[in-house]
Amino acid sequence: MTKADEIQKYLPLTESMFYVMLSLVEPLHGYGVMQKVEVISRGSVTIGPGTLYGMFTSFEEEGLIAMVKEEERRKSYLLTAKGRRVLSKQIERLEIMNKCAAEFKNRL
């Protein structure tokens, strides 16, 4: 599998995945991610603990995030280089969509 394919298989990210990955551009623990997603998504996306735990597990298995520290039973995670590449690709896609939306907005 080429490097491009490796990234491509994760795209498009679901809304929840997108916001969780965005939150992990800097180290953050579980509940911190839940709060951050609520804020940056302007309340449009909420992540439950069951969903988040599953995401952390699979993202870590796939090498998209890595645990950076554990304090008082709270694990903090950070995006890996691979995770950053996936997120960048997703943002590229969203930028294209955004451009189209702006172009067509007047015609609606």
Binding site: S16, G30, I47, G48, P49, G50, G54, R74
Partner: protein, 180 residues
């Protein structure tokens, strides 16, 4: 002064976890709060003030390496861990009228939960099949007891298949809610 306690037996299929959650919630609204979980199907309750609780369950096998971090995440999010029944973890959170707190906020993670149940149950199929084939093969020798054993084996197999199909159907329904 002794608190009122009681226990109930009730069987829920894995794909009826939402009914189970609703049942526990309605009991809390009457003041009977889940206090402990026993062997599969047995629930212990303690009497208290009527409360609006949302009960939610997760299925996690013992392959989960970091149960402490798992529970802490739920605790941070405001969920109280009530107990564990087999591999089912029970949580509750106070809910104001109109609120529906959820531990799974997208269909993908709900599907993963049911998949975990399927993988857990897959182990039992060879056991049940061996039970069935041995009781079938030894049928002529054992007479009435043999027939009874065979019926039990068939019964268990049918229940097993019914359970698995129910879970698969639930997964199918959830998959349809995913917009691609």
């Amino acid at each position: 002064m002794e608190t009122d306690t009681c226990w109930k037996f009730r069987w829920f299929w894995a794909w009826q976890d939402d009914h189970e959650e609703e049942w526990l919630g309605s009991l809390s609204r009457e003041g009977w709060h889940l206090s402990e979980l026993g062997v599969p199907g047995v629930y212990y309750f303690r009497k208290g003030e009527p409360m609006r609780y949302a009960y939610r369950m997760d299925f996690q096998t013992s392959r989960m390496q970091d149960r402490e971090a798992y529970l802490q995440l739920f605790r941070d999010a405001g969920w109280e861990h009530v107990g564990k029944m087999s591999a089912w973890e029970y949580f509750r959170k106070e809910a104001k009228p109109g609120e529906e707190p959820e531990i799974f906020t997208d269909p993908e993670s709900k599907i993963l939960k049911y998949r975990r149940v399927l993988w857990f149950l897959v182990i039992f199929f060879p056991i049940l099949f061996i039970l069935f084939s041995t009781s079938w093969r030894h049928l002529p020798e054992r007479g009435e007891i043999g027939v009874a054993l065979l019926c039990i084996a068939v019964g268990l197999l049918l229940l097993y298949v019914f359970g698995m199909l129910g879970i698969l159907r639930r997964i199918g329904t959830l998959k349809q809610t995913i917009r691609k």
